[in-house]
Amino acid sequence: MTRQAKTWLVIGAVFVALIVARGMIGQGLGRVYVKRTEVTAKLPDAAAVNSAAAAPSASASASTSAATTAASTQATAGPSGASSQATTQSSAASISWQEWKQVPPLEFAAAQKVNAAQTEITLSWPRTIGLWLAAFFTLAIFSFLYADNPCYKIAESLVVGVSAAYWGVIGFWDTLVPKMFGALTPGLVKSLVQPSLVAPEMLQQISMVLALVLGVMMLWRLLPRGGWISAWPLAFIVGVTAGLKIVSHVESDLMAQAAATMKPLVVSVTDASGATNMWDSWWASVANVLLVVGVICCLAYFFFSVQHKGVVGGAARVGIWYLMITFGAAFGFTVMGRIALLAARLEFLFDDWLWLIDPNHFRSL
């Protein structure tokens, strides 16, 4: 073992020892507590639901949507982080279930103090395991900074797998089901999977048939013959995208930006009394001069039809300085962003997992 490896082993051992020591003293390490609450909601009128499913016109869906979604409104309006499970259906007109909302450990300690046998606020093992898994995977990803290792590989593979599956589910339930199947067979989708689906208009349904045809044509390239058919929907996509982007770029980036560059080089800033503020006027003028000079010099740098000598060469050199300052500012912003993300992860480790700090006063007053 090299001296360097020994050094890092000692540093790693110190960190592990600190974490173990932290677990053995004080309040211990991360745990999640939940509070159980009973929720009751009225069920929608069954006849209204059936009529809405059978006649999925825009007017029918509008008139019955309030009824069809009455229960879901109650169910989803719960607090974030709350999980629910339907337990009883007390009558045909209402349904009740239990929700578990995450509460600070301080609340659990207070409840225990009042009644040690209370069961309203309890330790949530699934959420606690989730918290520890989150901490493990954070450390697993960080471990790549030392060297590539199996823990990092596991975390990386999980991220890729979970992301791919998540995007697949999102694509199916948020795009295909409501936009495609919901437009083509609204009654079926409404009765089977999405009672709150707002039925589309006839024109939208026709356009979705065209979209379906184009989609099938796009998939034609997977067949052994007729791959050229996929060129047609591709041409449609390129044409529409180009049309949209050209117009928006000309409007927002060319015309509006050119107009924003045409500024007076001498500015007079007046205060509330109408008097000229010399200091502000000076800085506003300097800002405008810098802006106009910067635009001209950067354009000169990218103007290759004339050799970069004399005045053009000087302007191009100033343009390089402007560009370098811009790149520096962009780098600074990127560093700031990355450090903010690192700080957020370390806050999670120190606060939620190790209970070293308590900025939100969840464990101490």
Partner: protein, 307 residues
Amino acid sequence: MSAANFNNTNAAARPWFERLDRIDRRWIFLLMFLAVSGPILWIGVTGKTLPEAPTLAARAVFQEIDQLPARSLVLISIDFDPASAGELQPMATSLVRQCAAKNLRMVFIALWPLGNQVAQQTIQNVIRDDYPALKEGDDFVNMGYQAGNEAVMKLLLTDFAKAFPKDSRGEATSNIPMLKGVKMASNFPLLITVSAGYPGSKEWVQYVISACNEKMNFVTGCTGVSAPQLYPYFPQQIVGLLGAIKGAAEYESMVNASLAVDGVATAPKYLQAQRRMGPQLVAHLLMVGLIIVGNVIFFARKRRGAA
């Protein structure tokens, strides 16, 4: 002589700048870890944050929301997911808090799949916890996520109900009281977005703000990576801009100051951005120090090479 001893002997014989140049990069990672974790622990224990002096772009965001009359409609697009929450969640929290305190009617939308959940969480943390009098459907509504990116933006310009036919609860848009009379995006006097990338602030400028025939003000908060691309739009197309965690901290301090009550400390959940400026300071000092050391090494090698 073993290979390790041979390398050590060689390392000792090298000049100081050569040794610094070949330093194991893991030492720099460890230094960065200490630079970030030290202030987090210190601020976490003491509760003290650094003072913030708001810049023009952050002040513009605050003033733009502040000058709206009560009950004005604002469209809030949450275009980020938990991967960027470290930077952007404090902005979203403060923006919603100022809107709620001003009694503005908030319409949340999301063009990112997880934006819906982020909006829901922000609504819970700010509106339901601290402004319980505000009613869903009358004072705020979460329209949820819509797939389609720029297509949704273009549709918003002509038909809001078509772009978002129902809210996240499944309630039809036509049945939501606060959306009566809302036909298109220009019915909202102010558009607020918190964006982590594509589709985000840039696309809102390109497809909505520039294309909108009527005056529609636009303020946005964005990640540090995308901020340099958005500054050229300020202040003509983007009226106010919160760039990265620094912008968030400036804006947060303004909102906290405007809503401060004598003798009552600001809730810790509204100090997130300011808490994260401590690690920023020390980590940036370390970065500057490393850049200086890198330059010193560069010039020392150049000098040695010339000699």
